[in-house]
Symmetry: C2
Subunit: 294 residues, 2 copies
Amino acid sequence: LDCLECIAAQALRAARVATDDPELQRRILIETLKQIPDLDIRKSPAELSLVTYDLAASLTGNYDPYKGLKFAQNEIALELEPELRDMVRDSDDPLATALHLAAAGNIIDLGVHQAEHIDIRAAIRQVMRERFTIDHTEALRRSLAKAKDLVYVLDNAGEIVFDKIAIEELLQHTAVTAVVKAAPIINDVLMEDAVQVELTEVCEVIDNGGAFVGSPLDLVPASFIERLKRADMIVGKGQGNYETLDDFPGDVFLILRAKCEVVARHMGVQLGQVGLISTRCRRAEVARTAAETP
Amino acid sequence: LDCLECIAAQALRAARVATDDPELQRRILIETLKQIPDLDIRKSPAELSLVTYDLAASLTGNYDPYKGLKFAQNEIALELEPELRDMVRDSDDPLATALHLAAAGNIIDLGVHQAEHIDIRAAIRQVMRERFTIDHTEALRRSLAKAKDLVYVLDNAGEIVFDKIAIEELLQHTAVTAVVKAAPIINDVLMEDAVQVELTEVCEVIDNGGAFVGSPLDLVPASFIERLKRADMIVGKGQGNYETLDDFPGDVFLILRAKCEVVARHMGVQLGQVGLISTRCRRAEVARTAAETP
């Protein structure tokens, strides 16, 4: 129910980004509200939220309202790139630091609203001081020691620069294929973002075949599912991928910051905390707890 | 549009207070969402929000879900009463201090959620340190010097104890009639609250004829409108009365804390700031500004 109410809130935000016309904004909100009662709440919040972004796009004809913001987010993150790279290079544990930075990058869409570089730096420093509340880094290391093929499912613009640095570390152990969206959805990265931050110079970049929040398994094309199945391990970034890849039957690692109460509660952390979660480890923990319960 | 989205958020909160049954909660939310597209957005947010409280009541049969909370809020405020009275008595300007306390009381529904007495004390101290951002206290004094009949439109439980102390100061200048709701609506005061905090020992207490947020002039009975018209001055508490009494053609004073961005913007203050607003002074200011604009 929180997610249904959140879709109404997302509708208003999406409407205001997509158009300055109050009448169009009203229609996006109202049409979204009309569709909410018919949504199948067994689906993931990421998938359910698509209704409002589709409406905002079709009613305004503005299919990429976040385009300018995404470009700016990437530029800001690129300015930080040398510092981020220094942090990894100077670290005792470059892989862990790079993964932690990738999680820190997941907060960038908050800070960038006022385009204050200094705030982003402070926010990142703050996150770097915290540890992963759920930390399956060692499981990731074990998988990485055996993996030959890793699929890294990207999330937002700006954040992608942090991901690039993490991918460079991962590349020392395995081949990596990064995944962008095929078409615009909120501030998620497209191929043009991968080109802008030169991720395309670092690893193979493919798209997931659609304009989805996260990677909803019943919406992405079969060819993308096949690609995920072929991978030895998968890294998914952000809440959207947390919500859609958590039941995928592979060796999945989800790196995210809990940005809403519903996901925080599901993760078992506080709002704002970060996690690097192996879905296999978590399933094993759940099974163990169930076995111990008389 | 913010108000329409807020009604969805209020629906979920109201549903959770009214019932523990997730299916009933879902119906309250969904039925509210279905009605939002047909709302007349020229009406006040206070009036528009009634749809969800009416649905919560009729779908659950629970017509006073905040009853226990209201009782507790009153008890907590009654414990503070001696301190509040000391603050007024020891003040250089007892009337101004009492009115300021009445505004401070308008935050009590925030603090009381965890029923932490100490938090409420801290919150009140915080508000008392701030000045009214909009301060028409001198206009209120001028009206009070001539008034024989003041109608004081109450807002929430708990807060009513603060109002009682303000009313005692006002009574040194004029007769006062306090107004409660005739039937339960959120945590607004009813006659039983006026009895619980012994406001009925201090002044005449009447009801407004309905279960409304604020005092929507097209919904309250004609007899209540007549009562407002007979008054030499009116004091209205909280956002609901700010939204519904601001155009009433009398000598109206509105005391409130801006609890949402929409009302804060309309008041011309920051979120959380408090105001004591004479609607006559404000209309004169607006007319003056308009006259000065070439």
